[in-house]
Amino acid sequence: MKDRSSYTPFLFAFLSLLLLALTVWVIWKDEIQLRPWKEYQQEYKELKASKLQSEYDEAVTLFQSSGDAQKLEALKARLEEADRIFQSKEVQEKYKGLAAQKDIVEASLDQNQKQLQEKRGKFLQVEYLYIRDQREQDKKTMQALQKEIGGLTENRDALLEQKSSIGEKIGDLTKEREALLVEIESLHKGLDEKLAAIESNEHMSEGIKQVHISDADKADRCITCHIGIESTYRLTDSQPLTPHPARFVYLENHPVSDFGCTFCHRGQGRATTSPDKAHGWVHHWTEPMLEGRMTQASCISCHEDTEYLRGAEFLAEGSGLIKKYGCYGCHMIPGYEGLREIGPVLAEVGSKVNYSWAVNWLQDPKNYYEAARMPKFYFSKGEAESIADYLFSMTGTTRHDTLYTDEEIDWDLVEKGKAIWGQSRCNICHVTNGQGGAHAAVHAPDLSKVGSKVSKEWLFKWIKDPKKYFPETKMPRYRFSDEEISALVEYIIGEYQDFDFEPDYEETVPIKAESIEKGKMLVEKYGCFGCHKLKGMEDMQNIAPQLLRAGATVAGGESSEKIGAELSSIGSKPLELLDFGKMKGKIPHSRESYVQQKLRAPRSYRDDLRMPDFRFTEEELKPLSAVLLGFTDASRPLRFIVPGHTRLDQQENEFGSHPLAGVFSQLAEDVKCLNCHKIKGHGYDFAPDLTIAGSKLQESWIREFLDQPDVIRPMLKQMPRFNLGKQLGMIQGNLKPLEIETVVNYFRTELVSGDIPATLPELEEAPEADPVELGRQLYDEKGCVACHQIGSEGGTVGPNITNVGGRLTAGFIFKYLEDPRKFSSDNVDPDYGFSERERVYLTRYLMSLKKGTNNAEISETRSEQ
């Protein structure tokens, strides 16, 4: 064995130094490197300190300048004076004497208390013995003790009285001084509080702060760095110290202490060692943080209705798009079940459209018009022809085009048709040559080139009774005469021709059987029946993957069991289960980019995918992907869940059935009232809500309006004429003289609100002048004229109220003035806080505004002047 001891001391020393260095490193890493939040907390503290200091300084200046300082000085001088008096020999002697007296009384009270306790204790003991043994002797003792207790109690009361009278006397001596002290303190209170705030900020403890939500299994330490997230102070605009944006929507309703942060934002709430880790931007954290508008994806976790949810506008946009493009036709999505197919019925399409048009449309719907909702399936011309052959074979045996360009035009008829077109306000829903389509939510087709698409025969039948062809259509049935329809058809076909249209089949060509078979296979493969009703394919299943989420159930059918497997919830599907295929390495490897790329170019991952291309814009991709990312399997506590009204309603009435009843419901279905109006939560927001129309509107006005819709809305929002009344030459067969009565009756009986009084309340004191005149003064005073028009005078923000007295009921106006937002949260009328008296005057005035009456004329003449 060689002796190696000669160099061991050096080796030992070297290793010791190395160990020392490592120890220092350990401390540095643990205390500084792994605690980046320390710096943020210190910065926040400094920012807050300077803010508080400046507030304090400001308050001090204000204190000086407002005269409070002088007041304080005066008070202090008075206090000194009071002190001097109090300290004077005479007063002091009196005070000390009283205090000594008080001491004596208090000592006697103590004594008295002790005796009372003793006697009562003895009494209870004897009482117990007496109840047990029933001895007379005990009873006597009890009586004696009772007497003693009585004496002691009297004595005590006397002493207490004595004590309070002494106290009063002492109070007389010190009263002024104490009052002054209170006054000084209250004067100084604001400043003291500010000083205390500065003090407490200085002593703010540094450390990791955590919110623990036990039932959601969350422990979020985000507030360790985002320390000012709930603060109302906006100390800085930069992260992480800035407060939460729009806190009145988000944090007010979801306080951090109840919800934590990661419940909505995701990310790794427990990590505190680096921002990247905390935000979940690290490899193995499967839920990276959602930022900005994408965070709204999390709203779906708890809110079943997000359509009108404040703060979830981005999400509502996304679910609007799902409804618009009918994603639920192919994908099963909870919350969207049972909705109608978005495409028209194709049963008789062969008698409706030109063959060449159909082939062109199938190849790319946007060839026909830009806003087409149908996606592009990348069919070749041959495939498109096969599908068209299949569809045409349902009504005939030939490929055929019908054109009207060479026909003689009956100009009189066209002119008449044009008048009907205008009167019927077709342009409210339908776009022609880039105009109209104000009511976009019903997705009426663009008619600019319809003349080259459909046949006159079909168009005639369609206008006459749209539901016969397409039972679920949104198109109302106008009660035109056959003559009127002919005119309208002539106008539409003649006016809206596509001059680039090249028909290939003006000579009919028979359809080949193989082609029909091939077309049918294509229809089945690509699931056309998801959006279009097709004969013989009613029971076909959804062809695309389900987009489910935890706890969500799909109503109806066999799949009503709960689906919890995360494989179906795209928002939390593990990244490695997403097949990036050809796009691997070309797009970021994240769930968000996967979903967006799928929507952007659905077939880019592999060659044989079937999802068609909707040509979503980047602005559409994002909200859609937010909705999809919201479909997660994350569990949430029951207390968070906000049930959806739509779903509850759907469960109550079978979907598609009306919220309305009786004869009125048939009528409303016929002319599609709910396409524009909302009644009891059903229908659209395009026209006024009619839920309480019976209380709101005067009967005579309803009658008149239905007869001849008046101009109370701007052009293209006006109500079309449905020819309900008799004056306008109703169609013979459809003539229903009672229809207006039906509407009016329904309004009067069903669409009423108990909140709205039938008459105005009686005022206790008689008005000092004509209430109408007083109302008019108020109207001028409050500047109502800025928004409302009477005659031609006034602004156009609010409705024209020239005829308001002929239209609305007094009760409604009275109630509306009390709280305009009661009836619709979107009303912009300011809340003036009118008194009842004022409201009565205003209502009286408004009720006096009637067409052709003096008041209206007066205002008109006024405006003329």
Binding site: F12, L15, L19, L22, T286, E566, E576
Partner: protein, 294 residues
Amino acid sequence: MGPFIEIISRPDNIAIVLMMFMVAFFTFWAFQQAIRNDSLRSRGEPIDGEYDERIDTWKPLVRIEFIIALIVFIGLTFWSLVVDAPLEELANPTLTPNPAKAPWYFLGLQEMLVYFDPWIAGVVLPTLIIIGLIAIPYVDNNPKGNGYYTFAERKWAILIFCFGFVVLWILLIVIGVFFRGPGWLWFWPWEVWDHNRVVYEGTTDLTNLVGIDSRSSLGFFIGGGLVTIYYALGMILPYLYWKKYKAEFLSSLGMIPYITVSFLFWTMLALPVKMFLRLVLMVKYVLVTPWFNI
């Protein structure tokens, strides 16, 4: 090479890389010493450790141990400072990670699952390994090589151990760590570990190759026969050979230890044999029974 560098530099794999070098280094060192000793011995010179040379515990031994302890302590502290614990995703009971790998020291066993059925690879073979290790002192009747390195005096023992430990055990671990990716598919170092990769490997049972259903009685007997012949020949032929040349160790070993050693040895060799069958001939099983498969 990008993917390979990424794989070997993963925090989990640093220990395996270290282990590879250490095993190679110590094997090399031991052989170097052994060869040196053997040549000293052949020249009749004395070698280290052969003679009774004792040293004090205090200080010479404790000093060395203390310094080594310090070095290890410093090394581990440094390592833990520089590399964070390689934690992965939160465990999800409904989702197994892909690849689902055993701890590194069991990766050899996991790799065996590719070649044998779970009952053999997971239960029988590990048990036999342990029994074999326990049996070593009882079947090793060679007293040489105590306290010094030698190769010439223990050729068989050293070769068999090196084959079993370095080639099979360590190599399978290295394969399991560096070459097996998602789906337990084979990835070369230059290939990216693609989760969506699909490989078709159609394997058949041995008897099916010649058209006999392995699940039929005939298939069972042929398969069973092959396995029996493998062991029988493996035990009898060497025995006859050594008997003929009157090998000394055979008589000193005795019959039962010979059978034990021989069985264990051929079982060990069964792994490379089965690997060959599986990888080259795409053979799934030789013998199929209702209870286990070989």
